[in-house]
Symmetry: C2
Subunit: 335 residues, 2 copies
DNA sequence: TTGAAAGCGCTAACAC
DNA sequence: GTGTTAGCGCTTTCAA
């Protein structure tokens, strides 16, 4: 601890080391053209003084902010209810920790939040942005790109394919789930879809159709949901009413699947004996439903990691490619 | 859109308005001593140019960073599995949105994360910090205070009471839960505690003891857990073995309660008929256990909000008081 | 009420 | 390999 209350400046380090600020700066940013001797002197001064560079000053001088923002644009609290949110952040954080970037979090669901994000990006308050959970025609998507900072999407907006994104293989995962049901001998398979104004909803539905088509089965047993538990219950009831021959159902989210299971139990249908159920996401709850839910696990933490890697590369001026991450079927008791 | 690629500067605004940078700056920070006329001219210039102040430059000049950090220090993934994390952030965000602060997120569980946090605070990279989920003797706690920025704790460390914190009424909640069991006619009540090296674990245990003492009941049916589902199962088994007369159990977390319910089912004990169970936290899963879990709900989002409010006041130079937020018993089927 | 100018702490271009 | 210095964009005295 020095006597001073204010943190030491680079200039003070320079004085202490008996060198110029230029040299000190070079050492800190480990540039070449510094003698071993000078380097050592500077390093000693730095830790004698406990010097830590001032971020604002550096940002001002370099015109890079040293921070990225993770923007979550969702009016859907269910996004949070899943481990989804926390896992993405864990992944993002893991990669961020390897760099010296800071992580800014912006919840951009509200109008206010969107404005804040806009401000931050416009004012070059961040070197890049990761966008999560966009709905159809979300203005955020183009806005971020207009701001001129690199943008990486987690998942894809429905209306356009952004230049850089990382997404789970929703379509493949759905297909895999349905193929599993078929392999178990199910034939009259229905689905409760997610919201069809979201890419993820559509993809999973397409995966269902694909698997059914490949097996030459009818894909007309369909009810629409919105990923919420209630909509799953409603969709299940509808399927049951409209298609009494149903012997299996692919439900596009675990939350909906939980709702579906409740309806099946209430109506006295045995799962999986009579009707098999597969969900999607592998949220914690999936292990605690009755029976435990067979579901498709997404690599959520990996999604966060890869988004961040792509963004970091972008910031470094590279040209990474979009990524699609594989999903995995987790077999439990419900199918 | 101006032709220039780089955002407009304050100086350009000044030129456009035919005024000095000093005046423009005054308008922006709405200081007094600006004529109506000047103010209008500046405002027009600002939105003609689409001017947005540069955060780094402002920080450098004012010596305030305009950002706060939310640091989560936990090696316990269960913290994330609850809605806890997401809800706190939602609360924090709500208050942050009312200010023009930015929110920095730091996961400080790893050594690396801790170092990052230290750097940020030491370098005045943030105007304040909120600390979540500290274990006993967590160095972060004192470190943050040493850095000389305002610190607000979410929950309390065990070893000392920080000057500013916001906590749920864990003790009161536990007492309420146990009193409810007693009111239902239960007498041989046991508890599976949380980790007793955390304030929250101890508080809930004390709440249990308090309620039992007030009713002149024996509080010796105790098993220790660590908030994990597995430890709940183990603790339940232990209680059952050691106290065959058990007729109710207060389990200090829902995750543990889920484990406890599994054991009770496996051993053929009927819940709540034979043994009543109450959990704590009201995580999503609580609605899906068999039977649905009676539990104590914490005001998690409010916790995030209040932490942030306290921090903002601190940054503004006020002296707020610590806060304890009430909990609520949610009665379902397990007790 | 307004203008001028000196920093805030750092980087980077240029000279030596 | 090292020192010097002019900014980066803003705020904030101090004069006028």
């Amino acid at each position: 601890m020095t006597k001073s209350d204010r943190p030491p400046t680079l200039e003070e380090v320079a004085q202490r080391a008996g060198l110029s600020t230029g040299t000190v700066s070079r050492v800190i940013n480990n540039a070449q053209h510094v003698s071993k001797k000078a380097r050592q002197a500077v390093e000693r001064a730095i830790d004698e003084l406990g010097y830590i560079p001032n971020t604002s000053a550096r940002s001002l001088a370099t015109q890079r902010r040293g921070a990225v923002v993770l923007a979550i644009s969702s009016d859907d609290p269910a996004l949070f209810a899943n481990l989804f949110f926390a896992e993405v952040i864990t992944g993002v954080n893991a990669v961020i920790e390897e760099t010296d970037l800071e992580l800014l979090l912006v919840l951009a669901a509200s109008e206010r939040g969107r404005e804040r994000l806009t401000r931050i990006l416009q004012s070059r308050g961040a070197d890049g942005v990761m966008l999560l959970a966009l709905r159809e025609n979300d203005p955020l998507s183009t806005m971020a790109e207009d701001a001129g900072v690199p943008v990486v999407h987690g998942g894809r907006p429905l209306d356009r394919t952004p230049q850089w994104y990382v997404d789970a293989d929703n379509r493949g995962g759905a297909r895999q789930a349905v193929e599993y049901l078929i392999a178990q001998g199910r034939r009259n398979i229905g689905t409760v879809t997610g919201p069809l104004d979201m890419h993820v909803g559509v993809s999973r539905y397409l995966g269902f159709r694909e698997a059914m088509a490949l097996a030459s089965l009818s894909d007309t047993r369909v009810a629409n949901g919105d990923f919420s538990e209630g909509s799953g219950a409603k969709g299940m009831a509808q399927l049951l009413d409209e298609h009494p021959d149903l012997d299996a159902v692919f439900v596009a989210s675990d939350a909906m699947a939980a709702g579906a299971l409740t309806v099946l139990r209430d109506r006295g249908h045995e799962v999986p004996g009579e009707i098999a159920v597969v969900g999607f996401n592998d949220i914690v709850t999936a292990q605690h439903t009755q029976p435990a839910l067979t579901t498709v696990r997404q690599p959520i933490e990996a999604l966060g990691q890869e988004m961040t890697r792509v963004l970091v590369r972008l910031i470094d001026g590279e040209r990474p490619t979009p990524l699609i991450l594989p999903t995995e079927l987790v077999i439990r008791d419900s199918a």
